[in-house]
């Protein structure tokens, strides 16, 4: 499945939780009139299907593949059982919940108070953190859908960033040329989200666990399969 594949539609019953390894998944909130806006992003730093351990079965947002890649997935029942055992796995999931909540809150604040250019920078930085290389395959149309703004607004903002020499945009690919430069144009929202993630999960991430699911029970690990469907 290429870029743009819908993993879950808002209201869908979820059968699995997904832990992206190289894919990036965008969480889009769907308005009654069909308008969309991105409220969060999950890459290998997160998961899709949070509602499953929070007492729900359906998702309230659309999960859409923003960068093709791999994930591992776990059956809903296994996730619930592992979560109920408590310990490190539960602790990590709860910490991640707090970090996503901060990301959503900051998106709300940013939507209200900051310019499209600042928002675009925040968005590029969050994505760049998830990328193995300095390029992102993405059209202005898709970015406009993510940010919930008009395409022209995105093109204008991207044009200015290109003039500043911090990004290069060509044929559907955005190249991050000068990350420090993007950071200096961005609002503080990126830093807030990034600091909060580091505060909550940095300690665990620095441990560099060899296997992202090493700490769950062996039987579930066997059932947890690598999902290549995103590519």
């Amino acid at each position: 499945m290429p870029l743009g594949t819908v993993l879950y539609e808002s209201g869908d019953k979820m059968s699995h939780v997904y832990f992206p390894t190289t894919a990036i998944i965008s969480l889009l909130y769907i308005m009654e009139n069909g308008g969309t806006a991105e409220i969060g992003i999950a890459g290998n730093n997160g998961l899709i299907g949070m509602a499953l351990y929070m007492g729900g079965e359906t998702t309230s947002s659309r999960a859409i593949v923003q960068r093709g890649g791999d994930a591992v997935r776990m059956k809903a029942a296994d996730l619930r059982a592992e979560f109920a055992r408590g310990g490190l796995f539960q602790d990590l999931l709860l910490r991640y919940t707090q970090s996503l909540m901060t990301q959503i809150s900051q998106t709300a604040v940013c939507n209200r108070l900051h310019t499209i250019q600042q928002q675009l920078c925040r968005w590029l930085l969050i994505n760049h953190d998830q990328l193995p290389a300095d390029k992102l395959v993405m059209t202005h149309d898709l970015i406009a859908n993510m940010l919930g703004v008009r395409r022209e607004g995105v093109s204008q903002a991207a044009g200015r960033l290109q003039e500043l020499g911090v990004i290069k945009y060509s044929r559907g690919t955005i190249y991050i040329v000068d990350r420090k430069g993007i950071e200096s144009v961005a609002c503080e929202c990126y830093q807030v989200v990034s600091n909060e993630y580091d505060r909550l999960l940095g300690e665990y991430m620095r441990k560099n666990l060899p296997d992202p699911i090493a700490h769950i029970s062996a039987s579930v690990r066997q059932r947890t399969v690598k999902e290549k469907a995103f590519t």
Binding site: I39, T102, A108, L200
Partner: protein
Amino acid sequence: MPFDARSDLLANKILTALPAADLERIRPKLERFEMTFGAILNTPNQIAEHIYFPDSGIISLLGTLGEGSNLEISIVSSEGAIPLCPFLGTPSSPVRSLVQGDGIAHRIKTADFLDECRASPELTRMLLHFTRSLMLQISQCAVCFRFHKIEERLARWLLMSADRMESNEFLTTQKTLSHMLGVRREGVTKAASHLQKLEIIKYSRGRIQILDRPQLEAASCACYAILAKQM
């Protein structure tokens, strides 16, 4: 003088839904707390000493940006508990909690609260459920900020406040409203005057009165109905 918590009435929906044995164990650790308009229950990056379970009144959760810039991202009343950060694994919260409508809460020391979470799967389950509903509220807020007009958002805010205060009349200031909605005071004044001209609300000397609730619902964006249904 400390209040005798055992003698007064609990109305918080999480606490009152606990199994009798759990509630009995928690009760002696609860302390009655009077929430007065403008009181700050926790500030960003400060260790949360207590968890508050409101019985009545309204608490605003404010996303913060730099010095003095606050923006309401959700409101919590008797259906919830704040701050959630200790439950989610971290001692301090990135948001500020401000009392927006007078009321009563029962609070518990954070260490006791965490002991109770471990002892009561039912408490954990309800807190997860509440966390999820709070995330939905914040997500809704993010798109509301993006897409809806000031007047629609003002109407939504008034309806949500009235529901939680269980009253059609409450105190607020233009300054508060401008913080809550993330717009300049002139914008609030204009929207409020228009609703007043239509005889939907009456606003004088810091007191807002809802005169025509069906019309106020019609003036609100869809976010109100979506959130009300979800609660």
